[in-house]
Assembly symmetry: C2
Homo-oligomer: 443 residues x 2
């Protein structure tokens, strides 16, 4: 039997075909993956926990499953952000408080992937409780002097570096879409609460969203289906000539650097060339105060954090990052009045943006201000992400473009709440010309 080389470099969907028909064993695949990681880990530093012996024993156990009983993700390696509990690995939340913590149970999402046959590979680097914007020494696989973006730094870097085809992450402001853009991969942040966050560390009950990274649209679809994402109607097949896309620069547009400016323009040009109607749509004027939108999301998330991190504060507040200690102590002096106003204001915006989305095939909007910045201290800005997170709308990142320094740069596609399957369908259709002509190639 001919075993393809570089198994580690295959997407989930590609390797699944080989695994399902026994062209390769899960163990062979795991060995290839582990080899890649060994080769690259000293540079990328994506993992906070990875036990090759555990991986191989899991792989062999999966190989024992008769072909007819194999799950829809049989043997596919998945990287788990270390804010999700895992029954057979430590879960440390990027916090010294949880060093060596062995929870002994899986988060809901990890369990669902295990039932689907996934090979849960290891735990990836996160910022402390996902709530700070610095700390990890994980590097961008495309330039070790640049950040991969946070907080889902390790999962994004591992997927981008061909160490694993699928990575799990979470987003409270921009922790999925931003690292996907910085590392040049696809990501999906589904509709808020479409996938359970049970068993992952809570930062903000009102906006924390579970999501995932992959190197192809086909793979995002695969994972979305395992989590049973459903719309009211099956998405109709997309014909680019019939598609109408709203290009929304958002009130944060003054944060866009030349890379994002060019990416948005190039996206519009390519899509128009393929018959897509692209209309620039301005943000509703009553919500166009970007600073106010940003402050409201900060109030929501960081006020939610008061209760979320009280436990750790009581455990040992001296081991908390001062930022997180400040949340619990409310050192920003957010009032409860501001808090309910921010909650109610975002809630009131949601139906309005759903309606805008319903008028179009999709919204396209920036993912980041620009390429990944130099250095590892600043993990980048969520300026273009937090609005959609706060609106609970599903977002897919398409990594189609290249910035001035040769680093990847993508755009976000956004749909109305619970139009996740529609978003997958339209994003796939839009991604084809964008990936073909945008410039960035996923190796």
């Amino acid at each position: 039997m001919l075993v393809p080389t570089r198994l580690y470099s295959l997407t989930a969907s590609q390797v699944l075909r080989l695994l399902k028909n026994d062209t390769i064993t899960v163990e062979q695949y795991a060995l290839s993956i582990l080899g890649r990681i060994e080769e690259r880990d000293s540079i990328v530093k994506a993992w906070t926990y990875l036990d090759p012996q555990l991986v191989l024993s899991q792989a062999r156990a999966l190989d024992q499953i008769p072909p007819g009983q194999r799950g829809p993700l049989h043997g596919v390696a998945v990287a788990v952000k270390d804010v999700m509990n895992t029954k057979d690995m430590p879960t440390q939340f990027g916090s010294p408080l949880y060093e060596g913590n062995q929870p002994g149970f899986d988060s809901s999402a990890v369990a669902i992937l295990r039932y689907a046959g996934a090979l849960i590979l290891g735990k990836t680097v996160t910022t402390e409780f996902t709530a700070t914007n610095m700390g990890p020494n994980t590097t961008n696989p495309h330039d070790p002097n640049r950040t991969p973006g946070g907080s889902s730094a390790g999962s994004a870097a591992a997927v981008a570096d061909l160490q694993v085809p699928l990575g799990l992450g979470t987003q409270t402001a921009g922790s999925l879409i931003r690292p996907a853009s910085f590392t040049g991969i696809f990501a999906m942040k589904p509709t808020f609460n479409a996938i359970s966050t049970e068993g992952q560390k809570t930062y903000s009950v009102n906006v924390d969203t579970f999501g995932f990274f992959a190197r192809s649209m086909e793979d995002l679809q695969l994972v979305a289906d395992i989590f049973a994402l459903k719309d009211d109607e099956l998405p109709s097949s997309v014909i680019l000539k019939d598609a109408r896309v709203a290009l929304i620069k958002t009130p944060m547009w003054d944060k866009a650097g030349p890379g994002t400016d060019a990416a948005m323009e190039k996206a519009a040009t390519i899509l128009k060339k393929h018959g897509v109607k692209v209309e620039e749509v301005s943000f509703p004027p009553e919500y166009s105060d970007g600073k106010a939108l940003k402050r409201m999301l900060e109030i929501i998330a960081n006020s939610d954090a008061q209760a979320a991190f009280l436990r750790e504060y009581r455990m040992d507040k001296t081991k908390l990052d001062p930022i997180i200690r400040g949340f619990v102590e409310n050192s920003a002096n957010y009032t409860r009045k501001e808090r309910v106003q921010a909650l109610d204001r975002y809630a009131s915006m949601r139906p309005i943006f759903d309606e805008i989305a319903a008028d179009f095939s999709a919204i396209i909007t920036p993912s980041v201000p620009d390429e990944a910045p130099l250095g590892l201290d600043d993990m980048g800005s969520p300026a273009f992400n937090f609005i959609w997170t706060g609106l609970h709308m599903p977002v897919i990142h398409i990594p189609a473009f290249i910035g001035a320094h040769g680093m990847p740069l993508g755009i976000s596609v956004v749909a109305g709440r619970f139009f996740d399957q529609h978003l997958l369908a339209i994003s796939k259709a839009l991604s084809e010309p964008l990936m073909a002509e945008g410039g960035w190639k996923i190796s």
Copy 2:
């Protein structure tokens, strides 16, 4: 040293004074509690897990703590609803799927109570995942032929039966306030998300609320302070003659039986006698369709349940109650469109009801249709609770009255979001004449 008898019957605040100054040891207290449980458990059946040896070893460990280092809940026994994970006890969620499940970690709330020095006594009976309304054989301590109410059945029954002074519960519709009324004790459902639900089983991310039972207002205050509940301003001291209370019968008033009818009238009479201005306030007419309000909350909770129970569905759907299986399969055929409409509608109501609350010292409203019904199959109706849960407003139950069959019956006091300390202060002031003259006495 004189050791009071019937230590088990003391409130948390009472026993705390004895424990803090070494009048009694935690072990003596634990022995008294265990004796009471042994005497009563075959009738009340409140516990799903209780290991006397574990309790005594924890008690002895607490006794080793030097007086100066003792926590604010030093040695006080707490019953934990078995939907909250505990590091040293099984957590079974009322589900056969989790028989013998040993999570090895504490929920956020349980951990915070442990850091405060609580004696975590054992796990109490819940309906399956808190999401069904039947099942447990826990009885009402005041009449074993009647239900204690669900889903927090065991915690309410144990507190009412003097088996433990404090019990933890959760509410998605009426799972705290209803059993508190049926069993004749105090309860507090704080503002949504004022206390972290991390580490407890999720039913509905949008409304699940952690709360607690006690036999005195002083004890509710004690627990609220341990969870650092704070308002924007310190609550001012309440003078009954200056208090103005809105009596709101709600659009569910047609569900009120003679017991609740009399209780509301008696509450108004007593309060007026003590100088409180009681004004009947009608529900805003645009929200007065009770059936629509109920259906919207069902859509929110039961649609949220699709993702919440997908894991268990994949684990083994044959071991799920058909109701829960139906949630995951969406057998009610809720559309996502209805779901976002229900979410947005409740969200739009919240500031309006906060404003109504702000115009008064508090809102008083029914807790239940009537006394606990006969039989153990029907755990009662949340008709008078779900609206406030959906509105995210804090609620305190005052168990002041008696129904036609001699069973307890109380009323709810409601405040605006994040007015939890205000609610505690006004409820304490209102509870004094109500408890003195209402008829129900907590033994």
